[in-house]
Symmetry: C2
Subunit: 206 residues, 2 copies
Amino acid sequence: MASHVAGPEIERLVQLLARLPGLGPRSARRAALHLIKKREELLGPLGEAMQIAYQRILTCSVCGNIDTIDPCTICRDARRDPSILLVVETVSDLWALERARLMPARYHVLGGVLSPLDGVGPDDINIAKLLDRIREAQAGERTVREAILAVNATVDGQTTAHYIADLLAPLGVKTTRLAHGVPVGGELDYLDEGTLAAALERRTAF
Amino acid sequence: MASHVAGPEIERLVQLLARLPGLGPRSARRAALHLIKKREELLGPLGEAMQIAYQRILTCSVCGNIDTIDPCTICRDARRDPSILLVVETVSDLWALERARLMPARYHVLGGVLSPLDGVGPDDINIAKLLDRIREAQAGERTVREAILAVNATVDGQTTAHYIADLLAPLGVKTTRLAHGVPVGGELDYLDEGTLAAALERRTAF
């Protein structure tokens, strides 16, 4: 790259930046130069923010969310209904649901989906912890009434949802999943047949 | 963003990442989660690399390049011909020329181009330093024979090149500029008329 013209420190910065999703070798060089140009406003603060994140970020032992406290801010939030669990694949799905500010519920982050082809089995994602969590809640006074399996509408996501629904059935927990249909603002012309079929089948009265 | 669900440390990381060129709010969140996932391999090392860069990176007092030593690695390199100066707009242009490994010359980084509309005048870029550098070399035993004005083929770039060429003429320095023409691998259909005109006018014999 630029190893023989700039110092090894700059080369290392470029190489590490290139490992961020969305940045390639070219954009990593541009990002490095931008950082060096904005030394005081960006390079210093971002380096510090990363060091702080490196030192302080934890995975919540209850729900699998990330935060700097354990249990996380969501698990500690008394205003959130503990009887509804939103089961999501990743923290980024949790953030997406939180941004929409739809439901003051609790979460359970699976940390992935079952994927036999990639060798991901039930023990590789947080399913056992979900069952333990529900059983513990039932043993105490706060029972979990509903588990909303808010996983992606992919084959692996749906397989995982079915697997978890089967495990939750004997526990007497109501298990639901997200509706399929036309995305708001979506054009029919661009949708696949599966989505159109689901939207037509589950049509609602005006 | 995610401020009310994750700690302020994560929110700050996302906000700073979003200021990198090529990353928006969405990809900054994805980058932050990727960093947190790869805590040991990426988050820690990248934070450290940024801190080191923040502490050590300097602008070369001779040529305007960035490095961790001053004068920079290029200015110190005895194998490079000091009689040829490649005058470039930015460090990123210097890197681009170095990657192509074309000419073991020295550089002079202007740090911008003249741009009356943006209020950038001759005193705002490293032109005075270029003249001083050439005069000093001429006073000593190492004279600068040629200044290659390797600026961008934009209006501002070419204006700057003309301005510098006029200043260098009395110093007896040969001033050259990059050739215009069809980029290697380029398709005529996609080129503008100016490039086609230049390529046709400066056609060469087979």
